[in-house]
């Protein structure tokens, strides 16, 4: 037995060897006190920034952890940084302690051994996470294996101003027809923005007769065949986009003021509650509502991951665990704060904690979990990378 244990230690992933043991939670919280966590998270949304600031206040209060939000315009920046640090030999105290991450960035970091872990499933709050009903253990078809912990659920919804566009649309084909009748009233963020590429994937998932081909990696053989219909669709859509597709909003939140001004009637969002939140913040008119397609829409989880060279791994785990707490999750779901979906299993919560969620008024524009319907799986990340590159060549350098 003893030899086995030694062997197991030797075989464990090298970065984890010298690190703190996530399952010894008391040791983690003790070591975390006084540490500073540089959380690299997309900083384009002021509501998210406010939420992160609140998390910082709370972990400082409860655990003596200082949280610094490094506001990114693109999560890929953080990936680059860790990669560069590894190549420069900075293995002990890198600039980044935690990253808001998912999809291709996670796949890239996991593949390159840039992440600390596994840690997620050892965190105390993992016990109340809904591992059956929500896709928290795979990230764009890639198994997370405990190298990132979930903190929010997202699903594509379409945001429309009922004052100008009273009826919902049932499919991407109907959306195309609607733009032909209403040119200049729809747009999507410019890929490689994640919401922009999500729109492209949503098109593909909806118009393909059998979207399951997207679950396997894209190859030179299947790529052209599968995406041909996407490019035909976009060629038909682009002339009727806002500004005829010569300019695109930079991000999802940049489309809200355009709806508020009446430039757009329809846009998409990856957060079912964001429209209600924006109404509460005066950023959208109260006539805005959301809808999903008949066949459902793409959904995924947002995660946090800890780079292998973080100097504050214990504190980062404390923050990751706090993000999964009922207190933080209920606050994130409050449409007046963030309006993000929770990752928790309501049945696993105590009555007291569940009451936090029951007390929430999800807001006028937010669909109930039942109305949100089927959550369609994200395609394998290889599709997104290729499609985004091709989109850039076809539409990103307009002639």
């Amino acid at each position: 037995m003893k030899h086995l244990a030694v062997l197991a230690t030797l075989l464990a992933p090298v970065p984890a060897l010298a690190d703190i043991d996530p399952s010894n939670w008391d040791a983690v919280t003790t070591e975390a006190e006084g540490q500073t966590v540089f959380w690299n998270a997309w900083g384009g949304s002021t509501t998210t920034n406010d939420f992160i600031a609140w998390v910082g206040d709370r972990v400082a209060e409860d655990y003596g952890v200082t949280l610094e939000h490094v506001k990114l315009t693109d999560t890929a920046d953080a990936v680059t940084r860790v990669l560069s640090e590894k190549q420069a030999g900075e293995n002990d105290d890198g600039a980044i302690d935690m990253i808001w991450i998912n999809g291709a960035n996670f796949a890239a970091m996991k593949e390159a051994d840039l992440l600390f872990g596994p840690y997620a499933e050892q965190l105390p709050n993992w016990a109340i996470v809904d591992t059956d009903g929500k896709s928290v253990q795979t990230d764009f078809t890639v198994p997370t294996e405990g190298f990132e912990s979930p903190w929010a659920m997202a699903q594509v919804v379409f945001v429309h101003d009922t004052a100008d566009m009273p009826d919902r649309l049932g499919s991407m084909q109907e959306l195309l027809e609607w733009t032909q009748a209403n040119p200049g009233r729809f747009s999507y963020p410019q890929p490689p923005d994640f919401l922009g590429t999500t729109f492209l994937k949503q098109v593909l998932v909806d118009i393909l007769p059998d979207p399951s081909v997207l679950a396997v990696p894209a190859t030179d053989e299947n790529y052209d065949v599968v995406t041909a219909s996407l490019w035909a669709y976009l060629d038909a859509l682009t002339p009727n986009l806002w500004r005829e597709g010569k300019a695109y909003p930079a991000t999802g939140t940049a489309m809200f003021p355009l709806i508020a001004d009446g430039e757009l009637d329809l846009s998409i969002s990856f957060s079912p509650g964001a429209a209600s939140t924006a109404i509460a913040n005066n950023e959208l008119p109260p006539t805005v509502r959301t809808f999903v397609l008949d066949k459902g829409t793409i959904g995924n989880a947002s995660f946090v991951a800890v780079p292998y060279n973080s100097g504050s791994k214990a504190a980062a785990m404390v923050v990751a665990n706090f993000l999964m707490s009922p207190e933080a999750q209920a606050r994130a779901q409050d449409p007046n704060i963030l309006g993000y979906g929770t990752v928790l299993d309501m049945d696993a919560l105590s009555d007291e904690d569940r009451a936090l969620f029951d007390a929430l008024d999800l807001g006028v524009a937010t669909l109930s979990p039942a109305e949100l319907g089927t959550v369609q799986a994200e395609p394998h990340p290889s599709w997104m990378t290729r499609i985004a590159d091709d989109w850039m060549t076809r539409y990103g350098v307009a002639q």
């Binding site: 920034n49 315009t73 693109d74 190549q87 030999g89 010569k246 930079a250 991000t251 001004d261 005066n282």
Partner: protein, 564 residues
């Protein structure tokens, strides 16, 4: 080490602080452009990065954008400033315009660009003011104004900021050009105001303001923050694309970015050469024009148009600030309402604390850098005075050199170089990078008043047994309080406005008002942008107000010193 022995080395140290990072950065760009990036396990030399660059379908357009915005912004702002000065200098409208434009100089580029965008976008304030009454628009028209494919809005954003800069530079040059007598004589000979000025004063003024014009050209070609806010994205201008490549998760893209940076450098050098050739051509044509003896029939019309253009450029920034202010207090504000439904403190309560944190970081960096620049500058000037060193006209170009090398050519290289040697990014390297841009402006701002100081005061003080240091500390510096504070304010404003240097060298860890404001551009939250834009402007403007106020209070009983 005593001051006396240290002083002679200050000019060399100053040059090193200014040119060292530029040279190191260019070296750091040059290596990866030819495939050498040890941090990524790549060794050159190879031409692959250039091959990849030329394969990018957006390159021709991105290069064209860089050239067209640079040349257009420089020539139009120069034209406006020259014609306004020619037609109106010495008159009341001119003094009014001058007073309007001087504070605008310190408005950071990013804030001015946001203001302009909020003003002229299809859903902007102008459209709101005239809708639906005049225009009949119930909804904003689907017009590509901001982020237009030709970069015209971006060019306009640069012009409104370069006009005040060139005007102040021109005013300084006018004093030494003996303008008034030339104009009087030419008018006596029957020349119109504008024609007379252009034929007699312009050649002398232009010779003096040539370096700053080149700076404007190089800057306009490679600007990043204004381009992010107002420029096109399909494709973006070359500099914006370089920054995108430098932050791609695929390290190999850094090679392409470095190759792009060298192309950007080549473009700027090419444009400067082209501009120099144009000077020769314009000079020849001008001589012919002078010889033709034309007295200027259309002078009054030209002068009116120029004043209109100058006033429009000043108003664009001022109204931009007003609309930023309104947005920062706005509740719901739908189109086409001229004003929001209600005004509220809510936005300031929400974003205020964040701006204060960023303000503290901004102030710490700006004050340290501006003070360092001031000490180096005074040291250089004092060394020049005590040891009789003299700066030749050629040496003045050294001051402009860091401003002529495009930021996107050497800052990414500096970042890569720091990575290779394992230096930590953070506040201190950011300060060093800021110093490169702050030093030339502080030096240029203080040099003339410092040299113009009446040295007989020093002689008298020395006769009263004051040591050279005593003369400096107790006579010269107090007397120069106002120009010193002005130079300090210039340095602070330049540091506050730095975007790329803070972003790249700070590795994203150093959050100043400028980086935070530009980061908000992608989110499009106009209330947050309003709050951050105003704070950023305030951070740059308040020091100027203090630079006027403090000498007036300190020297309230010294009439001769009050005006510097």
């Amino acid at each position: 080490m005593t001051k006396r022995r240290f002083l002679p080395f200050l000019p060399a140290l100053t040059l090193l602080a200014m040119l060292g990072p530029v040279a190191a950065g260019l070296w750091g760009t040059f290596l990866p452009a030819f495939g050498h990036l040890p941090a990524a396990g790549l060794t050159g030399p190879t031409l692959d990065p250039f091959r990849d660059l030329f394969d990018w379908a957006g390159l021709p357009r991105a290069m064209l954008l860089s050239i067209s915005t640079g040349l257009l912004a420089t020539s139009i702002s120069l034209l406006i400033v020259m014609l306004v000065t020619a037609g109106w200098s010495g008159t009341r409208p001119f003094r009014l315009l001058e007073r309007l434009l001087s504070p605008l100089l310190s408005v950071p580029h990013a804030a001015a660009a946001f203001g302009l965008a909020f003003l002229i976008a299809p859903s902007g304030w102008l459209a709101r003011l005239f809708s639906p009454g005049v225009t009949g628009w119930e909804r904003p028209p689907d017009l590509l104004i901001v982020q237009d494919s030709w970069g015209l809005t971006m060019t306009a954003g640069l012009i409104v900021k370069e006009v005040p800069f060139l005007l102040l530079i021109t005013l300084a040059a006018l004093g030494q050009a003996d303008a008034q007598r030339s104009v009087t004589i030419s008018q006596a000979l029957g020349y119109g105001r504008v024609t007379g000025w252009l034929k007699t004063v312009f050649p002398r003024v232009y010779a003096q303001i040539r370096p700053p014009i080149y700076v404007v050209l190089a800057y306009s070609m490679s600007v990043v923050d204004v381009a992010v806010i107002l420029g096109p994205n399909t494709p973006p201008s070359l500099s914006v694309q370089i920054v995108k490549w430098m932050s791609d998760p695929d390290l190999a893209m850094r090679l392409e970015g470095a190759a792009g940076a060298l192309v950007q450098l080549g473009l700027v050098i090419g444009a400067l050469v082209f501009w120099r050739l144009c000077e020769v051509v314009v000079g020849r044509l001008g001589q012919r024009w002078i010889a033709s003896g034309a007295r200027g029939r259309f002078d009054p019309l030209v002068a009116e148009l120029a004043l209109l253009a100058g006033a429009a450029s000043a108003l664009a920034v001022l109204l931009g600030m007003v609309v930023l202010t309104i947005w920062s207090f706005a509740g719901f504000w739908g189109f086409p309402d001229a004003l929001p439904d209600q005004l509220t403190w809510r936005n300031w309560m929400r974003f205020g604390p964040g701006t204060l944190e960023a303000l503290a970081e901004t102030a710490l960096i700006a004050i340290t850098v501006a003070l360092a620049a001031l000490v180096l500058t005074i040291g250089c000037l004092e060394a020049e005075y005590r040891y009789g060193l003299s700066f030749s006209a050629r040496a003045v170009w050294l001051l402009y050199l860091p401003l002529l090398v495009p930021q996107t050519a050497f800052l990414p290289g500096l970042q890569t170089l720091m990575l290779n040697i394992g230096a930590d990014e953070g506040r201190f390297p950011v300060m060093l990078a800021h110093l490169v841009f702050v030093l030339p402006y502080v030096f240029l701002s203080l040099a003339d008043p410092f040299r113009a100081w009446d040295t007989r005061m020093g002689t008298i003080a020395a006769a009263l047994r004051a040591s050279p240091n005593g003369v400096l500390w107790r006579v010269r510096l107090p007397m120069l309080l106002r120009p010193i504070l002005t130079a300090l304010a210039v340095g602070l404003a330049v540091s506050v406005g730095q975007y790329l240097a803070t972003l790249l060298i700070g590795g994203g860890r150093v959050a100043t008002l400028t980086t935070e404001a530009v980061a908000l551009a992608s989110g499009g939250d106009r209330r947050a942008i309003g709050v951050y834009g105003l704070m950023q402007t305030g951070a740059a403007l308040v020091p100027f107000a203090l630079a006027l106020l403090v000498p007036a209070i300190v020297w309230r009983n010294r009439k001769g010193l009050r005006d510097g």
